[in-house]
Amino acid sequence: MTMHAHAPDSAPTFRAIPDRLTSPARNFLGSWEALLLLVAIAIFGANSLASPYFLDINNLSDATFNFTEKAIVALAMAFVVIAGEIDLSVGGIIAIASTAMGAAAQAGAGTAELVVVGLAVGAVCGLFNGLLVARIGLPSIVATIGTMSFYRGISYVVLGDKVYSAYPTDFAFFGQGYTWGVISFEFTSFVLLAILAGILLHRTTFGRAVRAIGNNPFAARFSGLRVERIRFIVFLMTGLAAGLASVMLTSRLGSTRPSIALGWELDIVTIVVLGGINIQGGAGTIPGVVIAALVMGLVTSGLGLLNVPGIIMSIVIGAMLICVIALPILLRRLLHKWRSA
């Protein structure tokens, strides 16, 4: 479709505009993801120096278990946060889904049914969150703080101080099984889901719409994007991811208590923020989230090998989050001062 402007003066002044000024490779070098990757490598190096057992292949494989479940939910959470929302109910969803699976197992459900129950409960919880946020229009932070205690509360009511632990033996595969050599089922799922999430966010119209909505919901609506529908879908995604994490965690622990996955929502949001996702929405990448999950996993497993108690570990992780996020800002400020002086 070529059209010629009637205005006599528009054609000759046109200068060709390049698609990009810098190559993607060059962009990567200055990116948040590159910095995170350096941090991950540094921690990996420090871990292998600090403990002789760290580089052991079985240890490395074991180390993946303590972060993959959270990391899987973080992949979905990335979409929610980029869309300008937040879902704090994921820990609650894991608890209620695990409780439902426990009850189903007691009623004699087989492994396949248990997985369906876990995923279905996660999906329903996600749909309910989506309904509150996208249809009724509640701010997501309020809605999901509400459903966070609501979902876990149901779990407490059903279980009290009982424990469900009558799971079929082959159910253990999802949390303890290996797909290939020392590569666990959990880790395989994480890698596949990360690739899927990366393609979805960075290569599809859906991912573009999520980012546009997080940046400017008004302009997105004026551009004909179905803003409510997309908000709905991202909450469904975190619900499903939490359901899957619940299957894995329940399978790994072999039991359900109402306090399962307590406080996970903040660990998951930490991974997302550390991964360079703008907490106000609109920007961020899946590779960033994946590397951030690795960083978190490496730090916790390294500290674990050094027998650092959990309380200290949380101090270290908190300090790390602040440092990694504050450092670039401080450096930029310093650079600016140095330049303008």
């Binding site: 009637h6 046109f14 505009i17 000024l21 599809t204 119209t205 400017n216 302009a219 994007l225 179905r226």
Partner: protein, 499 residues
């Protein structure tokens, strides 16, 4: 008279762009200096330097002959420079008085805010501006024009010597502009030096004593307004002749594409009926707040009507969302570019394709090559000024942002296009490009509806004009023999003079 403020050789560079290069400017007390230039000529950058938001990379600023540096906005304020910005930065949840005195509130002897003084002084200021606004009202309850008056009051609440007005009339109706000019005359009489930025030449000729013309970040000319003709100024600004600001190519007008009947909304507009025909430009004129934007946004599916029918190409359609409207071939280019039109943080290419993602994707996967091709096409067609297509839209000048937004809508291949104040705050070069483009679209068989508050634009461009007043149709006029007086009378309700 000795200059109050002088800029010598001011330069400012941004990565990849020379925003200002050796710019000169002189402001004298009691005189209004017009700053003229296309979008992207560096006017806004200059204002930001004068108000301490940016620091120049080279050159010097002199106040009454002394060299000064503005490291912060506070420093500029201390030097008694104040600015009324293009898009007023005020606080919705605060009262009018708080907005006026925020940051420099008078204190009582305990060091606490002296509310009585704030209210009294605000009231006095508003009264002196003839503004019918109470100091205790919350800003969010005011109209755009009233907010502007508050911004002016805020600027006057600091006793400044230099007042910068960056397109103060863009959002104002005819009467409010007159009020503003009276204020301007008073400021002038009290010996303030005024820098007045506007794209409306009629205004500049009326209020300005001196002029400075910027082009591509350089000072092209300066002198007394009385010595320069309109043509000379336009020539300096554009660097070429713009023979006709409002070109109107004759178009063959066909059958009705969009038919609206008895269209009503509970609060915004009532019983609107019109046909929009193939190849036609229908102007919609009215005062700010007449319900024109609300009507178009409702037709576009953003709000739901209470009654009425809409037909496109003879079939009745039910448009419940913008997505429905786009599917039906109807698009709306909103007035508020930054808020509703563009996603400022996203690159040009992603903005251009945002409304037509289906066309650049296959089974939901975006094809980068197609996407860039589409963006390149519209960049070329509109003579977009940008360093790359991956540049965020927010870093472009207003006129270039508008080109991106219009490009986004044309990419959806519409049959009907609504343009809401398409040239608001746009320089004359981009303006004539937009106008040429509108007649080109009409010539290609599109039905164009243009909301405009600028009479020359309406008179020059529209085949027919619908006038709205307080949410109702106040008249329908053909192009032949239509005068500005007729339209103003219809819009202000003086219908007796018409019949």
């Amino acid at each position: 008279m000795a200059p109050l403020l002088q800029l010598r050789g001011i330069s400012k560079f941004f990565p990849g762009v020379k925003a200002l290069e050796g710019v000169e400017l002189t402001l004298r007390p009691g005189r209004v200096t017009a700053l003229i230039g296309e979008n992207g000529a560096g006017k806004s950058t200059l204002v930001k330097i004068l108000t301490g938001i940016y620091q120049p990379d080279a050159g010097e600023i002199l106040i009454e002959g002394r060299k000064v540096h503005f490291d912060t906005p506070e420093a500029a304020q201390r030097a008694r420079i104040t600015a009324i910005h293009q898009e007023t930065v005020l606080f919705d949840e605060l009262s009018v008085a708080e907005n006026i005195y925020l940051g420099h509130a008078p204190k009582n002897r305990f060091g606490l805010v002296n509310w009585a003084a704030i209210r009294a002084r605000s009231m006095a200021l508003l009264h002196s501006l003839d503004a019918p606004i109470k100091a205790t009202m919350l800003l969010k309850n005011l109209s755009i024009a009233q907010r502007h008056l508050v911004a002016i009051a805020r600027a006057l609440s600091v006793d400044s010597n230099v007042v910068i007005m960056d397109e103060p009339t863009a959002a104002l109706s005819h009467k409010e502009v007159e009020d503003l000019f009276r204020i301007l005359a008073r400021l002038k009489a009290s010996g303030k030096a005024i820098l007045f930025i506007s794209h409306k030449f009629e205004e500049l000729h009326r209020v300005a004593d001196d002029y400075v013309v910027f082009r591509d970040g350089r000072t092209i000319g300066a002198g007394r307004m009385a010595d320069a003709t309109h043509g000379e100024l336009v020539h300096m600004m554009v660097g070429r002749e713009v023979d006709q600001v409002f070109p109107k190519a004759p178009a063959t007008i066909g059958a009705a594409i969009l038919s609206v009947k008895g269209y009503s909304h509970p609060t915004e507009f009532d019983n609107i009926s019109f046909d929009l025909r193939k190849g036609e430009i229908l102007g919609v004129y009215g005062l700010v707040g007449a319900g024109r934007s609300e009507l178009c946004q409702s037709l576009f599916g953003m709000t739901h009507p209470s009654a009425g029918s809409v037909a496109i190409d003879g079939t009745f359609v039910s448009i419940r969302s913008a997505a429905d409207a786009i599917k039906a071939g109807l698009v709306y280019v909103p007035e508020e570019r930054g808020r509703h039109g563009a996603v400022l943080a996203m690159p040009i290419v992603e903005n251009v394709t945002l409304g037509s993602l289906g066309a650049v994707s296959q089974r939901g996967f975006i094809r980068a090559a197609e996407e860039f091709k589409l963006a390149r096409h519209y960049a070329q067609r509109f003579d977009l000024r940008a360093s790359s297509l991956s540049q965020p839209v927010g870093t472009l000048s207003g006129g270039n942002q508008q080109k991106v937004v219009i490009g986004k809508w044309l990419a959806t291949k519409p049959k009907v296009i609504f343009l809401d104040e398409p040239t608001k705050g746009i320089d004359i070069g981009s303006k004539s490009a937009v106008h040429a483009f509108m007649s080109e679209l009409a010539g290609q068989g599109l039905a164009v509806l243009m909301i405009s508050s600028e009479l020359p634009e309406i008179l020059g461009m529209a085949d027919r004009v619908l006038v709205m007043k307080e949410g109702r149709m106040a008249g329908f006029f053909d192009r032949e023999g239509l005068t500005a007086e007729t339209l103003v009378q219809a819009a202000t309700g003086n219908m007796g003079a018409l019949r």
